[in-house]
């Protein structure tokens, strides 16, 4: 212990060193002790000439906290240097509740400045234990202390302070403003009638404070008292009243549904959105659905660059409701808009696009921004206006791939067989997205030329194009594709063969199953599996005789697939075909057979299933067990 005291003594001496690093080292080490001597040294360091050392000492003191620290810091509240006083206050606030007893002990000090500091600090700490002592300061002889006391009571927020604060409002003109603000922060609705009375006082600052306090309290019923002030010839009063209504409305999640003369406040509201005032933005956008008018639309269009995506969507939907009037204003603004705004304006047009608007968008087909051109292509497409087709065909030559993609998609929605040649070019595009968009467009348009093109493409030099062609024929799904798809079952590429079979099975009607049956012996296992599925889809349980040979397929997974498909037919008589596979060499096949037996429920399977129960493979045992339970349960 003696050593520590000696060490701290050495550190205190070091604090007087002219060398910054010596002093800094001393403060750092003092921060590691909790002895009163160390705390005193750190407090002394608050007056160091160097800001870095002062802040370091402050950090340590805030961490150490406690009675001694607080008591010593309170002495600094009387320091002649304002910087030191502020630093001491700040540390006391950081110490928080632990500093409250020391602060309360000194609250009646003779020094009025210190009294004010103590009250301020107690307010910022916000500990309710201080409320009563601070309330007493509402009657302090010094006006600054009284004002601070009112503010501090607002920060603490105790309902016990309401009565003294109301008394201050009545008797003390100097502190009325702070008292009203404090009442607002406490948020108790019982004071509303008192506050409303103060709306008629002459002092505009008090009136503003009352509006704010009423808003803060957030009672929907008080809106009635605020509404008359919306007609005040003094704009600042009217806006303060609206501000309070906005706060109340937002606190009540928009339930404050009063008919308000908002047209008068468009500048105020839209300026609020532009300055990113969250309360005003929420309120304004929430009320858009029943508040139209060209000035409102223009106001909204002016703020679209200041709102987030969610609010932009809200604006978009509201303007979509306004319809053509809004569209005209959007188009007007589009002409002089920046890149980003232009994109947002085009997104807004999406909900109101029609022939006339689409026509007005034609000049933007050549816009310098590809994102604008892409949006324009999309809008022209969804407009349903066939007059846009020539421009869209032009856009399929755009240097930007995304624009070409949008143009081809739009052509699919708008064009007819007459434009097929233009769209077919897209199949040769260097980007897959563009090629897919062209295929999509051709699938919608359909017709003999499209079918002929994809049929020819089945023998394209590029196997990727062959596969795209067979897929496209499947999507076209017309009777005319049956023949080329059936022929494609014998295509040299296995991917094409498989895709042709899948597409034919989906078409369902008028399909000749014989070529698909031949594919059961295809050299490629994926094709054989596709053929099994297709036959089951097309012929149902009658397919069992076609696919049974696949139970002995050379490929394990074809056998597995065949067993599963027979199971899915759900015909009990088919169980007999699967009995031998309960004794297959492969666990996978035996598991599939056991699971199928659980579905089909053939009692003849029980002995073989019982044998499986003695196997080591847990999955096999589980499948067998389930099958036995099912069969016996059924019985």
């Amino acid at each position: 212990m003696h050593d520590v005291v000696e060490r701290i003594g050495g550190l205190l001496a070091k604090l007087q060193s002219p060398d910054f690093y010596q002093r800094e080292e001393a403060v750092k080490e003092l921060g590691s002790y909790t002895q009163d001597e160390a705390v005193a040294g750190l407090v002394l360091a608050l007056e160091d000439q160097d800001l870095g050392i002062r802040e370091l000492a402050a950090d340590h003191l805030a961490k150490i906290g406690g009675h001694t620290t607080s008591q010593l810091l309170i002495r600094f509240l009387a320091n002649e240097d304002i910087g030191t006083r502020n630093l001491a206050s700040e540390i006391l606030v950081r110490i928080g509740s632990a500093a409250v007893p020391a602060l309360l002990r000194n609250i009646d000090t003779d020094d009025e400045d210190v009294r004010k500091f103590i009250v301020d600090v107690l307010g910022l700490i916000g500990d309710e234990r201080a409320a009563e002592a601070i309330s007493n300061k509402l009657w302090d002889e010094n006006a600054n202390v009284v004002c601070s006391a009112a503010e501090a009571l607002g920060e603490i927020g105790s309902a016990d302070s309401i009565k003294p604060l109301l008394a201050v409002c009545e008797k003390d003109n100097d502190a009325r403003l702070q008292a009203i603000e404090a009442l607002g922060k406490i948020g108790d609705s019982s004071v509303l009638t008192h506050l409303i009375d103060y709306l008629e006082v002459d002092d505009p600052m008090v009136r503003f404070a009352v509006f704010e306090a009423i808003g803060y309290i957030g009672q929907v019923e008080s809106i009635t008292s605020l509404v008359p002030y919306l007609d005040s010839p003094d704009n600042s009063i009217a806006e303060a009243a609206l501000g309070a209504i906005i706060t109340i409305s937002n606190k009540n999640r928009g339930r404050a549904d009063y008919d308000l003369p908002l047209d008068k406040f468009t500048d105020f509201l839209f300026d609020g959105i532009k300055s990113r005032d969250e309360e005003i933005t929420d309120f304004t956008l929430d009320r858009l659905t029943h508040w139209y008018g060209s000035d409102v639309v223009e106001g909204l269009l002016d703020v679209i660059e200041h709102v987030d995506d969610e609010r932009l969507k809200q604006i978009q939907e509201s303007l979509g409701e306004v319809g053509h009037t809004a569209a005209v204003l959007v188009l007007k603004k589009l002409a002089s808009a920046s890149k980003t705004v232009k994109q947002k304006l085009l997104d807004i047009l999406r909900l109101m696009i029609d022939d006339q608007i689409a026509d007005q968008l034609i000049p933007y087909v050549g816009d310098e921004d590809p994102e604008v051109r892409q949006r324009v292509a999309h809008l022209l497409g969804i407009s349903g206006w066939s007059g846009a087709v020539p421009k869209l065909i032009q856009m399929t030559e755009d240097p930007n791939g995304h624009v070409r993609t949008a143009a081809y998609a739009a052509l699919g929605w708008l064009s007819t067989e007459d434009h097929v040649d233009n769209i077919l070019k897209g199949l040769d595009d260097k980007y897959p997205d563009v090629r897919e968009a062209a295929v999509g467009a051709l699938v919608i348009i359909g017709g003999t030329r499209v079918v002929a093109k994809f049929t020819a493409d089945l023998h394209h030099d590029d196997v990727v194009r062959q596969r795209l062609a067979v897929t496209a024929l499947g999507w076209l799904g017309e009777t005319s594709v049956i023949k080329p798809l059936t022929e494609a079952i014998n295509h040299p590429d296995a991917g094409v063969r498989k895709s042709a079979i899948v597409s034919l099975s989906r078409m369902g009607t008028q399909i000749d199953t014989e070529p698909i049956g031949l594919a059961l012996t295809d050299e490629n296992s994926a094709v054989r599996k596709a053929a099994i599925s297709a036959l089951v889809t097309l012929k149902g349980s009658e397919a069992v005789n076609d696919i049974r040979p696949c139970l002995d397929d050379q490929d394990l997974w074809v056998r597995y697939h065949c067993i599963t498909c027979i199971g899915e037919m759900g015909v009990a008589d088919h169980a007999a075909y699967l009995l031998p596979y309960l004794e297959d060499d492969s666990d996978i096949i035996r598991i599939a057979a056991a699971k199928t037996m659980a579905v089909l429920g053939d009692e003849q399977a029980v002995p073989a299933l019982s044998d499986l129960m003695r196997e080591k493979n847990k999955d096999l045992v589980e499948a067998a067990s389930m099958a036995i339970s099912k069969i016996k349960g059924d019985k």
Binding site: S318, A409, G440, I444, W475, L476, E478, R506, G508
Partner: protein, 116 residues
Amino acid sequence: MEIAVRECGSVMVLDLSGRLDLASGSALKEEVKKLFGQNRTYVHMNMAEVEFINSSGLGSLVSIMKEVRLLKGRFTLSNLASYVQEIFEITQLSHIFEVFPTEDEALASFQTVSAS
């Protein structure tokens, strides 16, 4: 294809089942035309039972959509089977149709618009 029409407030709901192709697409267009004739331009199609759709079927839906736009009505779809969904993606029709996962969600969207 079977087409059942029912009324849900301001929305006419069409339950489609079967295959949407050339023949059924024409029948569907006729059915919707009748609704337009009665000033019913809020239309929803529940596609849960549509097992197949081809180029002609898509064309009929596009055609209905164009009509609805002209009449300033609204046309939604729901419950697309995965294969139908796939075709909607490849043709990018999912970008022009309002497609909802369920009929309830689609009908709720009509209510939102009506309320506003």
